[in-house]
């Protein structure tokens, strides 16, 4: 069977994207590494490891053969962790042709190169019609049939049109965007702020602290994003503030749970073990700081998150340090300017 849409990666978000496409009547191939999970999905239309017994749309065909999913499929969506993206892209490059529309649904940056996932896709494959999907989309809410909205960003109109055809429905609204860089950076960087919010919750703080971290966190990731060529307005959209609102307050967010766990005194390794899934924010914190130092951008909250994850300083102390910083102007044309008499 020739699929209309291929989703690469059978984690929770990949499975949900396949579910949304199939729900839309698209013949959908889902590439998974694990042969057993693949067999189960084809037999029972569930993905128990990530999504419990929730029934998935029947139009999904799972496969462990990358070529079977990718070859000739008009729309290919990459949804593997950023650490594995390059290797999978290189393999998929064997089967991709220049007409195909390729999307990334991973919100992360490659550790060594600092590349966004679409940059990797461009570097490793012949694909040019590339885009990214990013927004406030908790897999576990969508699978329960709750409505949601997301951004599809690409410089190519055709990418937005094809992604909309594949995924847009009364359950899942798609908004088009051409600031690909901004959308990818917002999606990746906001995970760091989610960890900070989780930590605040872990320390028992309430809404005031969370609101402070969300807005000041947004300010710093936007500052970095703009330096790297993003449109500042993108950070006020679904992929920026929208996604922050969700991940910074939800028990369902992996990054939030990482922050909370560590603030409550667990080690990072313990928390990740309990999570059983990749929390992109951990890796993104290091990448963000490296970029911030290169671009000479101040990112105090991100630095605090790094200290927290390193486990060398107590969470309480880190927060005190943040609060102990000098007073500044909020709309910071010149961030270094302090408020003084």
């Amino acid at each position: 069977m020739q699929a209309d849409v291929a989703v690469l990666g059978g984690g929770s978000w990949g499975t949900i994207l396949a579910h949304l496409a199939a729900h839309n009547g698209q013949r959908t191939a889902l590439w998974m590494r694990n042969p057993q999970a693949c067999e189960t999905l084809n037999a029972t239309h569930t993905n128990p490891r990530y999504l419990g017994e929730t029934p998935l749309a029947e139009g999904i065909t799972a496969t462990t053969e990358l070529g079977e999913a990718v070859r000739g499929t008009p729309v290919v969506i990459f949804c593997v962790p950023s650490k594995a993206s390059r290797a999978v892209a290189r393999q998929a490059g064997e089967f991709l042709t220049g007409d195909q529309v390729v999307l990334s649904a991973t919100k992360g940056l490659e550790p060594e190169s600092f590349h966004t996932v679409t940059e990797l896709l461009r570097a490793e494959t012949c694909a040019l019609k590339i885009g990214a999907i990013s927004g406030p989309n908790l897999a576990k809410e969508i699978v329960r049939g709750q409505p949601s909205a997301t951004v599809v960003a690409s410089r190519f109109h055709e990418v937005i049109v094809r992604a909309t055809e594949a995924l847009h429905s009364s359950l899942f609204r798609i908004y088009g965007q051409d600031d690909l860089r901004g959308v990818e950076l917002a999606g990746a960087l906001k995970n760091v702020i989610a960890i900070a919010c989780g930590a605040a919750a872990g320390l028992g703080f309430g809404h005031n602290v969370r609101a402070m971290l969300v807005t000041r966190g947004l300010a710093e990731i936007q500052r970095l994003g703009v330096k790297l060529g993003a449109d500042p307005l993108t950070f006020s959209g679904l992929a920026g503030v929208g996604d922050l609102l969700v991940t910074c307050g939800s028990e369902l967010s992996r990054n939030f749970r990482v922050g909370r766990g560590v603030a409550q005194g667990k080690t990072l390794a313990q928390v990740v073990e309990e999570l059983g899934e990749v929390a992109e924010g951990v890796n993104t914190t290091h990448v963000a700081l490296a970029l911030a130092s290169r671009e000479e951008v101040a990112m105090p909250i991100t630095e605090a998150v790094k200290d927290l994850l390193d486990g060398k300083v107590a969470a309480q102390e880190i927060l005190q340090d943040l609060m102990g910083r000098a007073a500044r102007y909020e709309i910071d044309f010149d961030y270094t300017a302090e408020v003084s008499a």
């Binding site: 000739g72 499929t73 008009p74 729309v75 290189r90 490059g93 064997e94 042709t97 220049g98 007409d99 195909q100 529309v101 570097a123 490793e124 494959t125 012949c126 040019l128 019609k129 410089r155 190519f156 109109h157 055709e158 094809r162």
Partner: protein, 532 residues
């Protein structure tokens, strides 16, 4: 363009331009004509006063009244006439009167050379000028040569001087490449020596004073048609010469954008060699002929690239002569560096002409012209994005292919010393000031040069830039001495001059110009140094 192809090319260009205008219906036809008449009248009014001006204006007035009264059939005929005239003009409008006048003004040595009866003979005698071993062509020369029979070459060099065309024409000819088709601004023909080379290069004329959109469309269609006919071509994607001295980072994608439609048309018409190979090229000079005028123009915030320089060092044969003498005295080299060719979509191309991805797998580039999972689809917006992508690759290629000379390195080091001396000053104040107590110590500058050189050596090892042999072998002090000598042999005021153990920034604009060539490599802290 060969005579036998000219009529075919004119017919093709006219039908494409007229077709695209009339596709928009009666209104579009009327608008295109009205615009053209408006722009042409403006141009004539701006031009020098003469009797011919009145005559020309009345000719345009006649056309205007035809347009007002006429039917669509009449309008279409007027449009066809206009487009045909423009196209013929582009194909070959060499004014012998201008040429003869300019030739008389050339100093004896050069003019003897210029009286060679043919471009071929001129090329043959070129070595007598002593420039032949000054121009070094390096990089992916064999790679590009291997492709010239497998498709059409589209050479896209950086642009810093009007001499670029000579260097390219000579360098490529010496390497056994066929002549390149090239759209040259009318002002280039002011210099007779270059005029000859232009023709040998296969130049067609671009009149920048003509601002009518239809004229620009003619130029673009002609470039595309020539590519489809298999003429190896040359575009400067930076548009005009770099005013700031920087390597171009913002490319004009118009002409570059003709490559994809040319490829698509050739595929659709099943032409034998439909492929196009984009060859990035970097021209690196130790001294730039027009440096002084270019940087002044850059610093005049109002003018920028819109301002067309019609009179600069280039139109003065004496300056050209002095410049060449300078190059000879200095034993300086001009590098023409070819970078590995790409397809119109930005992918690398191997020596067989196959597009390949990062893992060396062949790419079927015809699929880029298809809708996802489907058939070929015409989509100008998509093609524009492909071209933008190609442009990004070219910008990166240019940085890699750039050769650093002592003048660049020393200017960079001295300028950053000045910046550090006055951290509060903006660029303009820095350029204006220049008191004696602001001089640098020779030893300090030399140490600074050593530091920058160290960084450059690392960049070169990583394949991110190229270094001239002097930058590779001399230490900081010798580099300063050499750079001072280079500026001194040619520029009216050198960028830096020496007083005992002190170095003065005599011409800071010039210093900025040479410094800017090292923008984009992340050297030092404060960069890029732009006026905004």
């Amino acid at each position: 363009m060969r005579a036998e192809d000219q009529n075919r090319a004119v017919a093709e260009v006219v039908s494409r331009v007229v077709g695209s205008v009339t596709k928009g219906g009666s209104q579009s036809l009327e608008r295109a004509l009205a615009e053209t008449i408006y722009h042409e009248r403006k141009r004539i009014e701006r031009g020098s006063s003469s009797r011919s001006r009145a005559k020309q204006l009345s000719a345009w007035d006649r056309r205007r009244s035809q347009l007002v009264r006429g039917s669509d059939t009449v309008r279409r005929r007027v449009l066809e006439d206009l487009v045909t005239r423009f196209t013929r003009e582009v194909l070959g409008n060499f004014d012998p009167k201008v040429h003869a006048m300019a030739t008389r003004a050339v100093p004896f040595g050069l003019s003897a050379l210029l009286h060679a009866s043919s471009p071929q003979q001129l090329l043959h005698r070129f070595p007598q000028l002593g420039l032949d071993d000054r121009i070094e062509v390096n990089g992916a020369v064999d790679h590009a040569r291997a492709l010239q029979d497998k498709g059409t070459l589209v050479c896209v060099p950086t642009h810093s001087s009007n001499l670029d065309s000579i260097v390219l024409g000579y360098g490529m000819h010496e390497q056994g490449f066929p002549p390149l088709l090239y759209g040259a601004g009318l002002n280039l023909f002011k210099n007779p020596l270059v005029g000859y080379f232009m023709r040998n290069l296969g130049a067609y004329t671009v009149d920048r004073r003509k601002t009518a959109p239809i004229y620009k469309q003619v130029l673009k269609e002609y470039a595309g048609v020539a590519l489809e006919f298999g003429y190896h071509s040359l575009f400067f994607p930076g548009g005009t010469r770099s005013r700031s001295g920087e390597i171009e980072t913002k490319l004009k994608l118009g002409l570059l954008g003709t490559t994809i439609p040319a490829f698509a048309n050739s595929l659709a018409l099943k032409r034998p060699k439909p492929r196009l190979f984009v060859v990035p090229m970097v021209l690196s000079y130790e001294l730039v002929l027009e440096a002084e005028t270019l940087i002044d123009d850059h610093l005049q915030a109002e003018g920028k690239a819109r301002y067309i320089i019609t009179d600069d060092e280039f139109s003065s044969p004496l300056r050209v002569f002095q410049f060449m003498r300078g190059i000879l005295e200095l034993d300086a080299r001009i590098y023409l560096t070819l970078l590995p060719p790409r397809d119109p979509f930005g992918n690398p191309v191997d020596e067989e002409g196959r597009s390949v991805d990062a893992s060396g797998r062949e790419i079927d580039i015809s699929r880029y012209l298809c809708a996802a999972g489907g058939e070929p689809a015409d989509d100008p917006h998509r093609d524009q994005e492909y071209t933008r992508e190609l442009g990004q690759h070219l910008v990166a290629d240019y940085l890699r292919g750039n050769t650093v000379f002592p003048t660049h390195l020393v200017a960079f080091s001295a300028f950053s010393a000045l910046e550090e001396m006055h951290p509060q000053r903006d660029l303009y104040r820095l350029l204006r000031s220049g008191a004696e107590d602001e001089s640098l110590l020779f030893g300090d500058l030399a140490r600074r040069c050593d530091g920058v050189r160290e960084q450059l050596l690392q960049l070169e090892a990583a394949g991110r830039v190229r270094l001239s042999r002097r930058v590779r072998s001399l230490d900081g002090g010798d580099l300063v001495v050499h750079a001072l000598r280079s500026w001194g042999t040619y520029h009216t005021r050198p960028a830096l001059s020496r007083r005992g153990d002190r170095i003065d920034a005599t011409d800071r604009n010039l210093l900025l110009y040479y410094r800017n060539r090292l923008t984009g490599y992340g050297l030092g802290r404060r960069e890029p140094c732009k006026q905004t």
